[in-house]
Amino acid sequence: MTNSQLHPLLRDATTLAWFILVGATAIGWWLGVASHNAQNGILFTTVGILISAFLKVWIVGFQFMELKHAPRWLRHGFDAWVVVMCAALVILCIR
């Protein structure tokens, strides 16, 4: 699909980011409910909740905070915080 075929709302990167953020929140909510009710598969829900949260964090930085236009050192510095933080929390929560 080319860019011009997309719905006008989705052609706007900021609005597209909002849709993805709300969608990821819904997935996180579903995983949260599953995690609280389940006896098994908690590992899967825990990892899913943390990865979806840090995906949202990265989108907020990249699009809303305009890091996509920032110099490389700033953008990659933020990327590194997101990856390290997500990995650290996953390890601490599933150990």
Partner: protein
Amino acid sequence: MMNSVVETKGEVVTSPQQKHIPGELGIWVFVAGDLMVFAAFFVVIALGHNGEQAEIFAQSRATLDMWVGVLNTFLLLTGSWFVAKGVEKCRSIHSHAASRYFSAGILCGLLFVANKSFEWGGKIIVGINPMTNDFFMYYFVFTGIHLLHVFVGLGVLLLVRNASRRQTIGRNDIRTIESGATFWHLVDLLWIVLFALFYLL
């Protein structure tokens, strides 16, 4: 790399196509510091999640209303969208439309504060407070520090809204607007992780 500028009533404003640090460098120093402080908070919560008090954490977490957290997340994400669109409007068609976006962002922040107040009130009224256990100590302290950020963010958005109402928006005004917006998005970003750690896990 594109190198375009926008003329806004005689003053030159840098467009976002150019590689630049959004806002002032100072705001990014603050953002970096805050990310480090909250990184420590996140680790402390995660250590409790699987530590000796895992059972107490699970029981306490179950008493939180997940939908309240979801609603607050939705309010901050939507507030961030309004603020990001407001910044875009300030750069392109400078008009009072831009300040309306910031007003909508402020409204989202106020609704967040109202929802948080009801949530805390509901807990305190049934005798749950920071002294109840470690989970609620972390919950009240860390979401409280975040709430302070929301209050500061609301003040910052008022300044941003004033700057967006100027007759002419110059480079310094754009920098102020970008810096304020960056702080507001930081408030959103920190909440996303707190929401996952306190409500969803």
